[in-house]
């Protein structure tokens, strides 16, 4: 791996980590985007997109409602794409998805940590905020955004470092890699199906889902 690529990966992972909550929410944090662009950086967009799609199917389950906790798939997809890039066919996909899911879970905890730190910081300066001091408000707020940038950068660095180790010392043999890929794709489709069923609980959703399934199935068979 070239050090320039590493730098771009770190920058991209930090941006998508920030996008999830703190800055923008234009949804570059979605694994489809985060993984595909990481794949482009690594010269293998197809591998990046495949692992991105696997994680994106997982993300179809999400309900980021209110304060609920949710996995952070952005930096995770960057790490996962780093594992998958360059491996033949779908062989690296399972291992990549497994690392991606573990990192997404770690990301969830890092968000919890971040929110605690934000709360502590604001509580310490609350007297000034209650006086309506604009510069304190701006400083506390922007510091918290920078803190999330730090969180995202560390998360990406850890993920990419583990990914490079996994590429260097592959822990699974051919049979294991196939098994893991099959399981990861199956689980992703399963979670996606459960998400689709949940979407279908709206009034006309059931018919819409059935129509979509038939059309998609027909497309696959007729092509």
């Amino acid at each position: 791996m070239i050090s320039g690529e590493l730098g771009w990966l770190l920058l991209w992972g930090t941006l998508v980590g920030l996008d999830l909550v703190s800055l923008g929410q234009i949804m570059i944090a979605r694994p489809l985007v985060a993984g595909t662009i990481a794949g482009v950086i690594l010269g293998d967009p197809v591998a990046g997109a495949s692992v991105g799609v696997v994680l994106e199917l997982f993300a179809l389950d999400l309900l980021p409602v209110g304060a609920a906790r949710y996995p952070d798939y952005g930096p995770a997809a960057v790490a996962a794409a780093t594992v998958a890039a360059g491996s033949p066919g779908m062989l690296g996909l399972g291992l990549a998805a497994a690392l991606g899911l573990a990192m997404a879970y770690l990301g969830q905890w890092s968000i919890h940590w971040l929110r605690r730190r934000n709360g502590n910081d604001i509580r310490r300066h609350w007297a000034a905020v209650e006086k309506g001091d604009a510069s304190t408000i701006a400083r506390l707020h922007l510091k918290a955004v920078v803190r999330d940038g730090f969180r995202s950068a560390v998360l990406t660095a850890v993920g990419v470092a583990v990914a490079l180790l996994l590429r260097r010392y592959p822990p699974v043999a051919l049979g294991g890699a196939l098994l893991l890929s099959a399981a990861a794709i199956g689980a992703a489709l399963g979670v996606g199906s459960l998400g689709a069923l949940r979407l279908a609980s709206s009034p006309h959703g059931r018919w819409s889902l059935a129509a979509g399934l038939i059309a998609g199935g027909a497309w696959v068979i007729l092509r």
Partner: protein
């Protein structure tokens, strides 16, 4: 849009930046509203400038794309000289509805719809085309809503409830969710075919088996666990087996 409103609009992109469990996006709301309070008569010397900021920084939460509506209408209420009690009641009453509308319209409607179309694009056209299609489609509505919420909040001030026209926001999310269900239905077989295209026959059988197990466990055996946790547990178990499998 005037310069102060444009500033507030830009700041609203960071509105969740200081999210915390105590007051959630309260501080973000105060930060985003600040440019709109500068234009109070007398500017920063007007006592309502500081009072308004302090009020805004109290507990607040809503869908991030809809916080602009609160920022606009609360700032306008300060300009109009509404009483402290009126501003507080307005803020409290905006929390839940703006969260609910946003969650239903975006998180369980427009986002999964665009996501499914993006996956279809990646599988049928090209990886980059899928990602670009998703981003472009999603953000047309996202950025329009961000613009509209701030503008209507500022224009209507404390009377913003009437402007929301409840029937549109009650009905549209359901229609979008139904469309998302259809798109999700279409994407499942397409993604399955694309992802398993290179796998040998035996592995494809394994994929189908895992898919079935995941749906049965997530839907009927352990629905309270949540689909993500069920899927993650299956992949973790497969990873352990895969690491031990030595041929």
């Amino acid at each position: 849009m005037k310069l102060d409103q444009f500033r507030a609009w830009l700041r609203l992109f960071t509105v969740q930046g200081s999210w915390n469990y105590d007051r959630m996006v309260g501080l973000g709301l105060a930060f985003s509203m600040e440019p709109l309070l500068r234009t109070l008569s007398g500017g920063k010397e007007n006592p309502r400038y500081r009072e308004g900021l302090a009020r805004a920084a109290q507990f607040f939460n809503a869908h991030p794309y809809f916080v602009g509506l609160a920022a606009g209408s609360l700032a306008r209420a300060e300009h109009l000289g509404s009483s402290r009690e009126e501003v507080d009641r307005l803020r409290t009453a905006l929390v839940g509805p703006l969260g609910s509308v946003g969650d239903r319209l975006f998180w369980i409607g427009w986002l999964p719809l665009c996501s499914a179309l993006g996956i279809v694009g990646a599988a049928l056209v090209s990886p980059v085309a899928g990602a670009v299609l998703f981003l472009a489609l999603y953000n047309v509505l996202h950025l329009s809503i961000r613009y509209w919420t701030l503008a209507v909040g500022w224009r209507m001030g404390p009377g913003v409830a009437a402007a929301l026209g409840s029937s549109v926001f009650r009905r549209v999310p359901g229609i979008v969710a139904a469309a998302a269900a259809g798109a999700a239905g279409f994407v499942l077989p397409v993604a399955a075919a694309w992802l398993t295209g290179d796998l040998p026959q035996g592995s494809r059988f394994g994929t189908a088996l895992v898919l079935a197990v995941c749906v049965i466990v997530g839907r009927w055996l352990l629905p309270s666990a949540g689909a993500t946790r069920v899927g993650m547990a299956i992949v973790a178990a497969a990873a352990v087996v895969g690491l031990l499998w030595r041929w």
